[in-house]
Structures are given as structure tokens and as C-alpha cells.
């Protein structure tokens, strides 16, 4: 796959490489740099592996002060910078260029302060998502956003993409769980937004920075909300004979005033593959499966699951099964969370991330099937049904360039369909380079101009994470003015 055109590297910068390495080495020390080609190759791509570029040099700072010195150097020398966490971006958000300095914050992974009384944790941004919950687990607290890559992905990357997860129906996404940020601007200025209080002062810079895909600055510290774990949680599975019935059941549950912590949808191909992998007991005869999880005390859980069972019964389910114990619950979730890996065992896949209004689900799934069949490709669908976030996985053979290009075309058609249905291009993965050229489908030239002006406020020279988010022809004028 190589649909998206990347910025041409600046030959002058590439030619000055030795000088730049020496300059950075002086201000941060050689041990904080990755200089050799093999080392740099580890940073050539992210989880969108079809695109690869070996960066000029990689910097691994340990403190905010070091990040500040590095960025000031890059700013003063007109060098482009690509911020990086763990490199798990599915949209090419961390893809470098041959002329870019990669600033990877993964060494900055300490917990700085835990305050259980005020329910906040101050951490360095390179900490992994799951490590935050791990640090507070002994007190029965957790950090709520739970992207599927949570074992590996950093908070820095979550902040850049405003990551979600399966449980955000109840607990919200990253932007709803962050109270304060410390960020280094491209000229080295360190700025703080918010704090340990609930509402920020002045303009809401937290909202603007979270989800800005590393284009406004490099976040080095964050204060996040930690929450007390529920007394317990239990999932149930309901199999349906059609996507319509499953969609109506979700509407029925929410219409009855019940907001489960998660409602996950899988279509038949996804059910088959995941069951073969995880042996979770998914109903193989169902066209659509809902995994619905509720929280509370044992008696509360029983009452909620009974109510949901009553509602589901109205939509002629093929099967209803409430998890009987911890072991089965773990299996049910293991199957869902391993879905991408399980599908990866049978074919290469291209994962899309549109969001649609729930009511459009049957129409959209029907059209997705038509689109993929039209390209001669198979597709499996995973859907965060509670919040409308749809992950079609288009199956293809990566060694066949023709099929790869068809998969990318089918993906673009699907995202256009999501926008047409009243939704959006990306619910939680971000735009990066992958969806960059589709931004004009969702936004008018004015909408994009308004966004690009904000970028210019933070990064007047357009040095941070270049060539992402905005189509190159749309950003050309702003970049040249820089």
C-alpha cells in the first residue's frame, strides 16, 4: 500500500546530518541519541507498517528540560520533529521522514505523584497506559481510557490521538480524563495547562492540545483522573440473526435508561475467527453478537443483566448467555480484545475506524459488504456499538500489490460512507497520514483553515509532525507562509 504521498525530504538537512548529530550530542549527550542505521530503523514506522522512512536521528530525552533544549535546537536550525511514544499508531501518526528528528518520550515513564484523596495521578507522558492503572491497582483505583494497545501504548500517544477504548461509553475518552498537562513548545518554551482542579482557567487549551496529533508541542507530563473500581463487572453475550435486530437491541437497552460500561458488536466473520482463536463460547450460528458488560455489586449486576435479558428477548435472539464466573468473563473479553490478532492469523488486514450513528448500522454494514465484494475482498466488522465506533477489518494479501491497493481503496470508500451516514472518518485512531487526504470529505476549506490557523499559533514554522492531518495541497499555503 502506498497511496499517500509523503513530503519530500529536505536534501540540505539530510546532507548536514553529521553536524546535526554533533549539535544534539552536545546539548543532550550521545547516550540519549540513536545514531546508527540499525538503531534508527527501529523507528522507521509505526503500526501502519506499509509506510517506512528511516529518520535522521532519534532522541530519547529523560526530562522536560532535555526536551526543551532539543526542541529549541531544532527550532533554531529549522529541523522538522516527529514526536513519538511507543509507535503503536494505526494511522501513521508517528511516521518519520528522512529529514526529521524523532523525539521519543518512552524513557520518561515515571509516576510523579499519586493522590488518592483527590483522585489524581501526575505522571510522565512516556508511561504506558496500562502502567498507570497498574500503579494504582493495589488501592482498587484505575485510569479509565482503555485502548486495545494499552499494554504497549504510551499516555503521550493517547493524548496526541485522544484515544478511547471499549469502556469509554461509561467513562469517556482521554480528553475527559485529563486535568493538566505540561508541554514543550517548538521554541523550547515550557507551558502548563490546567492542574489538579476540574475545569481549566481561560481558554480550554487542554481540549485543543489533546487530539492535536503531536502537532502543537511535546507533552512531557500529565495529571490524570484516577477512579475507584466498581465492586464487580460481568458480561453477557447475545446472538442475533441480523444486524438490524442487534442494533435495535442496543437502542432498546439505552432507551430503557441503562448505560452498560461496554456494548461490543461482532459480525459473523469476526465471531467465527475469534471463536476459533479464543474458544470463548461465542455463538457460531449468529449473524451478529453483542457482548454487553455491566458493573456494580453482585445483586446489582444480576438485576441489570436480568433487565437486559428481558429487553434482548424482544428482538428474537438466537442465544443469550450470561457469564457464569470470572473465568468465563475473562475468556469472553480475551476473544474480543484479541480480535485483531486472531484475524491477523488468517490474513493481513487493513483496520478502519469510522464512527456512525447507531441507527445507520444495518445500512452501513450492508454497504460495507457491497464495497468489499466489489473489490473482491472479505471483511470482518467489530463495532463499539454504544458509541458508534466501527472497525471494519478488510482482509487482503500484503504480498500482492494489486490486492493491497484495492484494500486501501475499499477503506477510503468505507470512510466516505461513514461521513455520508452522519458520522466521521476516525473515532479513536486519529488522522495521521492514513486519512489525511480524506479530510476534505468531512470538512469544508473554511473548517480546515480554522484548524490550520490554530496549528500556526502553536507552531508558526510548521515543524512539528509535518505532513500529517491536513492534505498536502490544503496545507501548502500555510506551510509556505511559515
Amino acid at each position: 500500500m502506498s497511496f499517500v504521498s509523503l513530503l519530500e525530504p529536505d536534501a540540505g538537512v539530510v546532507a548536514r546530518r553529521a553536524l546535526i548529530v554533533e549539535g544534539l550530542s552536545k546539548i543532550i549527550g550521545p547516550e540519549a541519541l540513536v545514531i546508527d542505521e540499525d538503531g534508527r530503523r527501529a523507528f522507521e514506522t509505526d503500526a501502519l507498517t506499509a509506510y517506512r522512512r528511516v529518520p535522521l536521528v532519534v532522541v530519547l530525552p529523560r526530562t522536560t528540560e532535555e526536551v526543551s533544549r532539543v526542541l529549541r535546537y531544532c527550532h533554531d536550525n529549522g529541523l522538522k520533529v516527529v514526536p513519538r511514544g511507543a509507535g503503536t499508531s494505526l494511522c501513521g501518526g508517528a511516521l518519520p521522514g528522512e529529514d526529521t528528528v524523532v523525539v521519543c518520550v518512552s524513557k520518561m515513564n515515571r509516576v510523579l505523584e499519586l493522590d488518592y484523596v483527590n483522585r489524581t495521578a501526575r505522571v510522565e507522558a512516556g508511561i504506558t497506559n496500562l502502567a498507570i492503572s497498574g500503579k494504582v491497582a493495589a488501592q482498587n483505583f484505575f485510569y479509565a481510557p482503555d485502548p486495545s494497545s494499552q499494554l504497549a501504548c504510551t499516555l503521550a500517544g493517547n493524548l496526541a490521538m485522544n484515544s478511547g477504548g471499549a469502556h469509554c461509553l461509561k467513562y469517556g475518552v482521554t480528553t475527559n480524563n485529563v486535568l493538566g498537562l505540561k508541554m514543550v513548545l517548538i521554541d523550547g518554551t515550557v507551558v502548563e495547562f490546567g492542574g489538579t482542579h476540574l475545569e481549566p482557567a481561560g481558554y480550554d487549551f487542554l481540549s485543543l492540545v489533546i487530539g492535536s496529533e503531536g502537532q502543537f508541542g511535546i507533552v512531557t507530563e500529565a495529571t490524570v483522573r484516577i477512579l475507584k473500581k466498581a465492586e464487580g463487572a460481568r458480561p453477557m453475550m447475545v446472538g442475533f440473526s441480523s444486524p438490524e435486530a442487534a442494533g435495535q437491541c442496543v437502542a432498546g437497552i439505552i432507551g430503557a435508561g441503562i448505560i452498560p460500561v461496554a456494548i461490543e458488536y461482532m459480525d459473523k466473520p469476526a465471531i467465527q475467527v475469534c471463536e476459533a482463536y479464543a474458544h470463548a463460547g461465542y455463538p457460531l450460528d449468529a449473524e451478529a453478537l453483542l457482548i454487553i458488560e455491566v458493573e456494580g455489586s453482585p445483586s446489582e449486576i444480576e438485576m441489570l443483566l436480568a433487565r437486559i435479558t428481558e429487553i434482548a428477548a424482544k428482538f428474537e435472539p438466537k442465544s443469550i448467555e450470561v457469564s457464569s464466573d470470572e473465568d468465563q468473563s475473562a475468556k469472553i473479553w480475551a476473544g474480543r480484545k484479541a480480535a485483531f490478532g486472531a484475524i491477523g492469523r488468517i490474513a493481513d488486514y487493513y483496520c478502519m475506524d469510522g464512527t456512525i450513528p447507531l441507527g445507520q448500522l444495518p445500512m452501513v454494514l450492508g454497504r460495507i459488504s457491497e464495497i468489499c465484494t466489489g473489490y473482491g475482498l472479505k471483511v470482518a466488522n467489530i463495532f463499539h456499538a454504544g458509541d458508534g465506533n466501527l472497525h471494519p477489518l478488510i482482509l487482503y494479501n500484503a504480498n500482492d500489490p494489486d490486492e493491497a491497493s484495492k484494500a486501501e481503496s475499499a477503506g477510503a470508500d468505507i470512510l466516505k460512507l461513514c461521513v455520508e451516514a452522519g458520522g466521521c472518518l476516525t473515532g479513536e485512531h486519529g488522522v495521521g497520514i492514513e486519512k489525511r487526504d480524506l479530510m476534505t470529505v468531512q470538512f469544508s476549506p473554511t473548517d480546515l483553515a480554522v484548524q490550520m490557523r490554530i496549528k500556526t499559533v502553536f507552531d508558526p514554522d510548521w515543524l512539528l509532525n509535518p505532513g500529517k492531518v491536513f492534505p498536502l495541497e490544503v496545507s501548502a499555503a500555510a506551510r509556505q507562509a511559515a
Binding site: 476540574l198 481561560g202 480550554d204 435508561g257 473515532g427 473548517d447 480554522v450
Partner: protein, 392 residues
């Protein structure tokens, strides 16, 4: 209309129904743009928990429509009408998001900013733009819509907003602990928030504020009241309140306020009925770390007579102070600066709001970005010039 203004370089004050006009620095210009005629709910899908409305739609109309489907705004927006000397229920949905002042349920459900899904707006360049959308999860492009919350109409005039709504709880119960001093009250409230029982809000009314409750029986107790609200399914209430009382037993046995009394006390807080309008007092809103709140109030109270309401388990203080020439600004700002957080002068005479900083003064690096943002949206300073900061 803004295009005409931009062409004539004529700045204007932006209002909905004008219920928040008394907040912020006074605007010198005699020209006013109102969104009051931009009215009506344009989309409501109860099963998708989403509603869109034109910005001038009265909040009361929106809440009534939501209630007809058993739903509500989770963040329970503050109604500053009574505290500003006006009627309750006058604000518009645009004003709700432009001011971002959520009420008691903020601590569990998030603020106005957390529920905004998308917006259309006109900036000072007379450009109509949109951001976000109508779906819950959306990271397509920068989060401009959310970034407009709390900008008080100084960046753009909202024309339509789309927001998340939630089901109303089946049942409500409030535990009221009498006689706790402020520091113990905050300790009890943060302890409650640290339980897994989904507390929806926690507020503390010191004696003087509790005496002003509409509920005569509670007002007559003559003690402080620490209020902890449970909102959930009817069959959960007894079990949860029992466990909560057990967890908080060191703070004594609470009164149990049923649905009606509960509704009354939380409405008093949301409408600030306990801080009624008076020309003899000014009103501050202080956002801080919960456990710092009692110290902040005590520090300020050394210099002046105060009445406080602690909401968000202490994270939000509404503080009534005497109407001095600077509304106690120097003492309030110093007390907050030392302990972290920020303060906004919500009510004071126009000449006071003209001379003292109404919003928290900014650090230089934040001010630089703030000026940059204002210039990006409204380079000619057409929209609410000077409302938040002098010269901006």
C-alpha cells in the same frame, strides 16, 4: 451580520438571552448581537443519546424536551440568574457551552465541555465553520468545538451545538451530615468520592449558607450541612446508601433526604439560591484541588466576612464577599495562587469588573498563546472585545 461588522470594523457584544451579561469585564460597545432568534432543537435521537439545537434555544425548552423522554443534561448547568438579580431559567444552550459552568453533577459526569460533540460557529472573520459532529467518538481533526467552550463568545459566536444527553436516574437520595466543620466535611466528601458507589455529587454548606436553604426545616437546623447524593436505579438505592453510611460512619449518622427534599437542596445549589443577589456583596467562583478548599476559604475569611458553598467535594468554591472597591481581589488571588487553582469574579459592580482582573491572570507563555488564538479567530477584535482580558 458579522460580515457587516467586520467590514465596518465595528465590535459587538455577543449575548443569548443576556443572563450572563453581568459576568466578565464590561464591554464598552453599544452594539449587541443576540442569538435569541436562532431557536429550536434540530435533532434529537434519544436512543443514541444525542441532541442538536440552535444556540439561542432556551435551556428550559431543551430540558423540557429531554425530560419528556426521561433524559437530561448530565452536567446540570449552573443557573446564575437568581445570583445576578435576574430570573431563573433564562439562559440559552449557546450560553451554557460558551461559559462552561457545570453544576453539582460535574464531579461524576463531567462538564459542559465533556458533553459537547460538535458545533457550528461564526468567527470574527465572518467565516461559518463546523467542528466535531453528532457521534460520541470523533478524533477527526483538532477538537475545535470543545476548545470554544468557556471562551465567552470572544473567539466565535456559536450558531448550533450538538451534545450528549443521558437517561434520568430512576431514584435519588441525599445523605446530609450535620455540623461538620469545613475541613472534616471535605474529608468526608472526598472519602465518599473514593467509594465505588457512584456518588453523583457532594457539596458542603457551612452554617451561614445552610441557613439560606429553601427547605425551611433544613435551614432551621442552625448547623452546617454536608450533602452526598446518590442517583441510580430504585432497587440499588437502599443497598448503596447503607454501604455509604457504613463507610462514612465516623462522621456521624446522616439525615436521609428523599426525592423531593433532595431536589430542593441541589436546585438551591445549582441556582445559587443560597447566595442571593445583593448590591452589598460580590461573588467569586474558585476552582481548586478539593483538599485545598478549606484553607483557601479560611485564608480569605481572615480579611473579610464570607459565605461559602463547597461543591464538587471541595473542588469548586462559590464565595460571597463584601462589595469592596476591588471585591477582595488581592486577598482572593493570593489565597488561590499559593494553593493552586483559579478564581473568577462572577458578580460585582461594573466599575469593579472594569478595574480588577475578572478571570485568573495568565502566565506570560499562556498569555502569548491566548493572544495568538484570539488573533486566529478574531483578528479585528470584533467579538466581545475585552470580555475576558483587557485588550483581548
Amino acid at each position: 451580520m458579522i460580515a457587516q461588522l467586520a467590514a465596518s470594523s465595528r465590535p459587538a457584544e455577543i449575548v443569548g438571552h443576556g443572563s450572563l451579561r453581568g459576568v466578565g469585564r464590561p464591554i464598552a460597545d453599544d452594539l449587541t448581537i443576540t442569538t435569541a432568534s436562532l431557536r429550536g432543537v434540530t435533532l434529537y435521537q434519544p436512543t443514541e443519546l444525542v441532541m442538536s439545537a440552535r444556540s439561542g434555544t432556551p435551556l428550559a425548552e431543551i430540558e423540557a424536551e429531554l425530560a419528556s423522554q426521561g433524559q437530561m443534561l448530565a452536567f446540570e448547568p449552573m443557573d446564575l440568574g437568581p445570583a445576578s438579580g435576574g430570573p431563573a431559567g433564562a439562559q440559552t444552550i449557546g450560553g451554557v457551552f460558551a461559559s462552561n459552568m457545570p453544576g453539582p453533577r460535574r464531579i461524576s459526569a463531567g462538564g459542559a465541555r465533556d458533553h459537547l460533540l460538535g458545533a457550528s460557529a461564526v468567527n470574527g472573520r465572518a467565516e461559518l465553520f463546523k467542528s466535531g459532529g453528532r457521534v460520541m467518538k470523533n478524533v477527526t481533526g483538532y477538537d475545535v468545538a470543545r476548545g470554544l467552550t468557556g471562551s465567552w463568545g470572544t473567539l466565535a459566536v456559536l450558531s448550533e451545538v450538538t451534545f450528549k444527553v443521558v437517561p434520568m436516574p430512576e431514584a435519588t437520595l441525599t445523605l446530609a451530615y450535620a455540623g461538620l466543620p469545613d475541613d472534616l466535611a471535605v474529608e468526608a466528601m472526598t472519602a465518599a468520592m473514593g467509594t465505588p458507589y457512584d456518588i453523583s455529587s457532594a457539596a458542603h454548606l457551612p452554617k451561614g449558607s445552610a441557613a439560606r436553604l429553601s427547605d425551611q426545616k433544613l435551614a432551621a437546623l442552625g448547623t452546617s450541612l454536608t450533602l452526598i447524593r446518590l442517583e441510580t436505579f430504585a432497587s440499588f438505592i437502599a443497598g448503596r446508601s447503607g454501604k455509604l453510611k457504613e463507610a462514612l460512619k465516623v462522621y456521624g449518622g446522616p439525615l436521609q433526604l428523599g426525592a423531593e427534599q433532595s431536589q430542593s437542596v441541589w436546585s438551591d445549589i445549582r441556582r445559587l439560591n443560597v447566595m442571593p443577589f445583593s448590591p452589598d456583596t460580590s461573588l467569586w467562583r474558585i476552582s481548586t484541588t478539593p483538599t485545598k478548599a478549606p484553607e483557601i476559604v479560611a485564608a480569605i475569611s481572615r480579611f473579610m466576612t464570607t459565605h461559602a458553598v463547597y461543591d464538587w467535594s471541595g473542588g469548586l468554591i462559590w464565595l460571597e464577599v463584601p462589595a469592596a472597591a476591588d471585591a477582595g481581589s488581592a486577598d482572593v488571588r493570593r489565597a488561590v495562587a499559593v494553593r493552586g487553582g483559579h478564581a473568577t469574579l462572577i458578580r460585582a459592580a461594573p466599575q469593579v469588573r472594569h478595574t480588577v482582573e475578572v478571570f485568573e491572570p495568565m502566565k506570560p507563555e499562556v498569555e502569548r498563546l491566548t493572544r495568538g488564538l484570539k488573533a486566529a479567530f478574531d483578528p479585528g477584535h470584533m467579538l466581545n472585545p475585552g470580555r475576558m482580558y483587557a485588550g483581548l
